[in-house]
């Protein structure tokens, strides 16, 4: 192979993370939503797998805070949280691992922006693809005189199709987006002028305020808002005293 751009990953890592993305998408879309597909957990998992726990944890925590206001309800135009968590944390952790970069907050900031952008790209793609899958499920019809065993078998085959589709779609998106995200992250970290590094780090530090705003917005008009205020004041006082 000739001298090209050094890529901050190997194919084994990309395939492993693609499989992880597929499994997490199954949990998020078909399973009981165990929370593992949420960025705070998926990014931590990615960080742990790649041996960059701090970067994964920081990326996931901020992504979760930004998306805290978006509930996984049908019809919401939400970004894809699985892609955001896996690709965002994956890109940051791969650069940390292969380039030996130890600037945790800066790498997390890059991971967060890669995660946010790829999740925004993947959201509409996933919605279109899953609409096609659901449309196929909607065409299910039982033939006249079908007995319960035949009907159950047919539904089970639809189930297998649906599971395979969901896994494959998400894994494919990770396979495409993760190398692009990792290369973009590597380019930005290599360019990393001092001002840009500070700007990215301050941005990552400030983003949790969006999550705090989302929580205040969620509870403010409910009957439990007084608990929110009292609890915030008590914890703030304890933290300042500490």
């Amino acid at each position: 192979m000739g001298s090209g751009v050094t890529v901050p990953f190997n194919s084994g890592e990309i395939i492993l993370l693609a499989a992880l993305g597929g499994l997490l998408a199954l949990d998020d879309r078909a399973g009981w939503q165990s929370l593992l597909a949420q960025p705070v957990f998926s990014a931590a998992l990615v960080g742990w797998i790649l041996g960059e726990a701090q970067v994964g944890l920081a990326t996931g925590a901020v992504l979760e805070l930004v998306w805290l206001s978006i509930l996984p309800m049908r019809g919401t135009q939400r970004p894809d949280p699985v892609i955001g968590g896996v690709v965002g944390a994956g890109a940051a952790c791969l650069v940390a691992k292969h380039a030996g970069d130890e600037r945790v907050l800066f790498l997390a900031a890059i991971g967060i922006v890669v995660g946010l952008v790829t999740a925004e790209i993947s959201g509409p793609i996933g919605r279109r693809a899953h609409r096609a899958r659901e449309s196929r499920l909607g065409r299910f019809a039982a033939a006249a005189g079908t007995d319960d065993t035949a009907l159950a078998g047919k539904v089970f085959r639809y189930m297998l199709f649906s599971v395979a589709f969901t896994f494959g779609l998400e894994a494919l998106q990770v396979l495409v987006l993760l190398p692009i995200g990792a290369l973009a992250a590597k380019q930005f970290t290599a360019w990393g002028q001092a001002g840009a590094v500070i700007g990215a780090e301050r941005w990552a530090e400030l983003l949790p305020a969006i999550g705090a705003g989302a929580i205040a917005h969620r509870y403010w008009q409910s009957q439990v808002s007084r608990y929110l205020v009292v609890s915030a004041l008590i914890v703030l006082l304890l933290l300042w005293l500490k």
Partner: protein, 250 residues
């Protein structure tokens, strides 16, 4: 009242529970959870003799939707009614459809309030606080307790629904559920307040102006969320702005 001799055993109900874990995989706009319901009923309903020789599963292909964590209650209830019908009790096919329709809407609303509006935000809030303090143990405990609550609710739902049948309607009209819901929301608000405090406490470490910017950003986020603007896109837009400002200021 004489007990109905049931052909459905505990193991059959457990197989129904296992299939219910993938209920959402067959979700589609036309029938919503109908295919998932048929898939879940299949292992147990085969043991019930159809009173008129027609397919029992086919009648469940009609539209059905509920909160996935409360669907097992209805599935258990449906199996109970199908068993009673097969045993010659006065239960018509229309009664079972009416049972599903009448109980699914209130249970869907309660389930969404409890799980999507209460338990899940609470779990995620605690998880984020754990991640901020680099606590893997905290994250692990959140996953364990949340899944214990969700999975045991589903498992209990199948058996409880099967034991109660029609009586399910009475169980969920009492004040107990309202109290549980209120408690979960109160704890969620307390955890939310704690997270806001942790976030605000972390900002001044980079200077007083970062704290001031954070408070402004928090207010802007509330304003934008009230107008249904995506917090995600807002965050992306801030990135180049923040880098350019930092480059200009040197």
């Amino acid at each position: 009242m004489a007990q109905v001799e049931t052909p459905i055993g505990r193991w059959d109900l457990f197989r129904v529970f296992c299939r219910l874990l993938l209920l959402q995989g067959l979700l589609h706009p036309k029938g919503m959870q109908s295919l998932g319901l048929v898939n879940a009923l299949a292992p147990a309903i085969r043991k019930v003799r159809s009173p008129n020789g027609k397919s029992l599963l086919e009648s469940h292909l009609a539209y059905f939707n509920c909160n996935p964590n409360f669907t097992p209650l209805i599935v258990g209830g449906v199996l109970k009614l199908e068993t009673e019908r097969a045993a010659g009790r006065p239960v018509a096919e229309g009664d079972i459809a009416y049972f599903k329709k009448s109980i699914s809407n209130p249970l869907a609303a309660m389930g969404d309030l409890l799980f999507l509006g209460g338990l899940k935000p609470l779990a995620l809030t605690v998880a984020v606080v754990s991640a901020i303090y680099h606590s893997y143990i905290g994250l692990l405990l959140v996953v364990i307790f949340y899944n214990l609550a969700v999975v045991s609710c589903r498992l209990w739902g199948v058996y409880f629904g099967y034991a109660k049948g029609w009586e399910l309607v009475d169980v969920f009209t009492g004040p107990v559920f309202q109290r549980v819901l209120s408690d979960v929301q109160t704890v969620g608000a307390c955890a939310g307040g704690a997270l806001i405090a942790v976030v605000l406490n972390g900002l001044p470490q980079s200077g007083a102006w970062v704290l001031a910017l954070g408070v402004i950003l928090m207010g802007t986020a509330i304003y934008m969320l009230r107008r249904d603007f995506s917090s995600s896109r807002f965050a992306v837009l801030l990135f180049p702005l923040s880098v350019v400002v930092a480059l200009v200021l040197g």
